[in-house]
């Protein structure tokens, strides 16, 4: 029994000693790795980087530009085959305009993509200030890749995404790392290789970066790096779709005068005064909440989006009283924004075409005229007018 206890104690001591030795070795490796990247005092002074070069995807090489900031923001413009891609990340959330998704406006990044952008936004190596970034690292040991002796280091980000880094044993520069990447928004394993390390004013940076994931191959050749460039923080903010910006005149808080048309007297009568709130919900969505009374109170939620597949606006209108949902298609001219019932509502017996024309647009007012047609849009009969007056701050 005593012998077993002694053995256990000895094992614990040895394991602890080995662990301590590994920790010391890891710290030493990281210090040498950072040193291999050049003058750290210079790196400490860098607040932003503008990287230009050539990016190859699908065997097609094109210009590449990326901006990184010390706080983990990232912006880039590149070509993926025939598609020009723009992407931004503020360190926490991000967006991309990627025509490969057949969406021409920005969309938000999902969790796997945010993890990718965390990797893209790394200033030069994730091991730089890794403790401050909440990154945990662990030395796995020495191994051999492609005939090169490397240190294998496991890296865990605060999000719990894991990476494995392989630093060359001869010069401590990164040779390869494996991580979770994305292919058409889905998480996939990736391998990234580094080569052609060059000196930029005393800072050493790999100018050849090749990444493979699924069957994809992406190659970046860095040609130039500018340090401490002035960066407009707005570049990291998700832009709105151009088409949604075109109907931005609607956004705000409004007082609304409601008039109804009485055919007997051929006159418009004011029937209600109400309020409306119209706001951006996301890059391609504006929503309106309005409640007004004609013969009875109508409470509706209207959602305005742009449908890039059909190249027109798509509007859904939900009526809280009747539970009807109507869909409209819309188009914008210089002076008016017209939406018409697309006849694809839930009520299959619906036969009356509806149209809302938004006109007389100024900075502080616009008018919505609601019409119906009984002859499939040949003629229209106006029934309601809603005049919107922007609420002024008191």
């Amino acid at each position: 029994m005593k012998l077993i206890t002694k053995y256990i104690i000895l094992t614990l001591i040895l394991t602890g000693a080995y662990g301590t030795a590994l920790c010391q070795e890891l710290d030493e490796i990281i210090q040498l790795h950072l040193k291999a990247h050049g003058d750290l005092t210079k790196w400490d002074e860098v607040e932003s980087m503008k990287i230009t070069g050539l990016f190859t995807a699908f065997s097609e090489e094109d210009d590449f530009m990326a901006i990184k900031t010390k706080d983990g923001s990232y912006y880039s413009e590149l070509a993926l085959g025939k598609a020009d891609v723009i992407e931004g990340f503020n360190g926490t959330s991000g967006w991309t305009i990627d025509p490969w998704f057949e969406i021409l406006y920005p969309r938000e990044l999902n969790r796997d993509e945010r993890n990718v952008f965390k990797q893209k936004a790394e200033f030069f190596t994730p091991f730089y200030n890794y403790k401050e970034k909440g990154i945990e690292i662990e030395l796995i040991g020495k191994t051999n890749i492609d005939g090169i002796e490397v240190f294998e280091i496991k890296l865990t980000r605060p999000s719990r995404y894991k990476e494995t880094w392989f630093l060359r044993a001869d010069n401590y520069l990164e040779y390869k790392y494996t991580s979770r990447w994305v292919d058409f928004t889905y998480g996939v394993p990736s391998e990234t290789y580094f080569d052609d390390f060059r000196d930029f004013d005393g800072m050493i940076i790999p100018c050849f970066v090749e990444r493979t994931f699924s069957q994809r191959d992406r190659m970046l050749i860095i040609e130039d790096i500018e340090f401490n460039v002035e960066v407009d923080p707005n570049i990291f903010v998700m832009p709105r779709s151009k088409e949604i910006e075109d109907i931005e005149f609607m956004v705000g808080e409004w007082n609304v005068a409601v008039k109804a048309f009485y055919s007997r007297g051929n006159l418009w009568y004011k029937v209600d005064s109400t309020e409306s709130i119209i706001q951006f919900e996301s890059t391609n969505l504006i929503s309106e909440k309005i409640s007004f009374s004609n013969s009875f109170v109508q409470s509706t939620i209207n959602n305005f989006t742009f449908n890039s597949n059909n190249n027109n606006y798509r509007i859904s209108s939900y009526d809280g009283i009747t539970s009807n949902i109507n869909l409209f298609d819309g188009y914008k001219t210089d002076t008016t924004f017209i939406i018409e019932n697309a006849q694809i509502g839930c009520d299959s017996t619906f036969s009356l075409n509806s149209r809302i024309s938004y006109g007389n647009i100024t900075v502080d007012t616009f008018e919505a005229e609601i019409s119906q047609s009984n002859d499939n849009g040949e003629t229209w009969n106006s029934s309601l007018k809603l005049k919107y007056y922007r609420k002024k701050e008191e």
Partner: protein, 410 residues
């Protein structure tokens, strides 16, 4: 008397040695089909290290020819291939064309189909590589028209339409399978309905000799191998590897561990078949014995996308996704990897790899499992270069999406 016998013996020895090439291969007289005379990406020409040393790659000529991915066939001073030309942004034609091997100048062209426009933007025009025999050239257009044309002047002899005649569905990125000739049969992966996935046509008139199988046309091409003295036609289609006799009898099938191999199967060591795809697991090797299939090895150290491997002296050389790699055919062990070539292509001449990067960099590499060693390099072409090089009599013929060039090893 002994002297006379010795002399006769010497003469006989010389004649025999010449015929047998002292164990060396007889150099190819033509590069007549997809991946060369044996369809294995190997030229039997000889080149030595000294041929390559000192960047001795000399440009002979370079020409624009029109969009397409077909490999270049060379026979008796003429280069045959497929090209395309647009008449406007959405229309145009695919051609079978002949060029003078001396200067790359066009000799003739014959329209074979309307142009295949690639919606993803990877490149328009034909994908398949034709095959030539003594009289004719046989080609498949991107839209699936199989044509026989005279080698002399390009005159159309016969044509069948896979989509119209056999109910084939045009694969995404177009028909890409390259025809093979066995005896007098033109054998194709058709992807037709009603047991017409694989078909053999009479090469004289295009009449059907046999058809069999179900499944859409893939981007892979049939391969002829001889295993145990038996001629077999292999098709890697969907998730199966099929073996047919040239008469259309199924010899064996094998369920592959992946779907959609695009790279060609490779015969190794007389009775083993290597097949690789970019999907997991990556590759497998099976042994064929009396039409029985035994799996020998599965691994992930070689994942071919659309570029095929070559086998040489126990090792497989090819593109692992986008890196040139050498692996052991015995164990799958990686011997070396070289990045920076993108998804290019390669072939083997003697014991040299002729490697073309996906952006037109041409490199001669020693086919040595112990070490990656470049012997010569030149930026042969610009832009997308997905077509594998051809080799004949000391000259390398390379093609990018829109043009081609001839380089000579000095």
């Amino acid at each position: 008397m002994y002297k006379k016998l010795n002399l006769i013996g010497l003469i006989l020895l010389l004649v025999t040695s010449t015929l047998m090439g002292f164990g060396q291969n007889i150099a190819n007289e033509e590069w007549n089909q997809f991946r060369g005379p044996d369809r294995n990406g190997i030229s039997t020409d000889n080149i030595t290290n000294s041929d390559c040393n000192g960047n001795n790659l000399e440009l002979i000529w370079k020409q624009e020819i029109g969009s397409g991915f077909s490999e270049l066939l060379i026979s008796k001073g003429i280069i045959y291939t497929m090209i395309s030309e647009k008449t406007d942004s959405l229309q145009g034609y695919e051609y079978i064309a002949a060029f003078n091997e001396r200067d790359g100048k066009e000799l003739w062209r014959t329209k074979v189909d309307s142009i295949y426009i690639d919606e993803d933007g990877w490149g328009d025009g034909p994908r398949s590589t034709p095959i030539i025999d003594s009289e004719n050239i046989y080609s498949l257009s991107g839209h699936g028209k199989l044509s026989a044309n005279s080698k002399k002047d390009g005159k159309l002899i016969w044509q069948v339409d896979f989509v119209v005649d056999f109910g084939s569905t045009t694969p995404r990125w177009g028909f890409a399978s390259s025809p093979i000739i066995v005896d007098n049969k033109l054998i194709m992966e058709v992807g037709g309905t009603e047991s017409r996935a694989f078909m053999a046509f009479n090469k004289s008139d295009g009449s059907i000799i046999w058809s069999d199988g179900a499944g859409n046309a893939s981007h892979d091409s049939p391969l002829k191998v001889t295993i145990g003295g038996q001629e077999q036609i292999l098709f890697a289609n969907g998730s199966k590897l099929y073996s047919y006799s040239s008469d259309g009898d199924t010899l064996w099938t094998y369920n592959m561990p992946f779907r959609g191999a695009t790279a060609m199967p490779v015969l190794i060591q007389d009775n083993k078949i290597f097949v690789s795809a970019v999907r997991n697991p990556g590759f497998f090797i099976v042994q064929i014995s009396n039409n029985k299939v035994t799996e020998l090895l599965t691994g992930s150290s070689m994942k071919n996308d659309y570029s095929s491997c070559v086998y040489h002296n126990g090792y497989i050389y090819g593109y692992h996704v986008a890196a040139v790699r050498c692996i052991s055919a015995e164990t799958g062990e990686v011997k070396w990897t070289k990045r920076g070539f993108g998804k290019g292509s390669l072939m083997l001449v003697d014991d040299k790899l002729v490697v073309l990067s996906d952006k037109g960099k041409l490199v001669i590499v020693d086919a040595n499992p112990e070490l990656y060693s470049e012997l010569a390099t030149v930026q042969a072409l610009e832009g997308k270069s997905w077509t594998a090089p051809s080799f004949l009599k000391g000259k390398i013929y390379v093609r990018n999406l829109t043009g081609f060039a001839c380089y000579k090893i000095k």
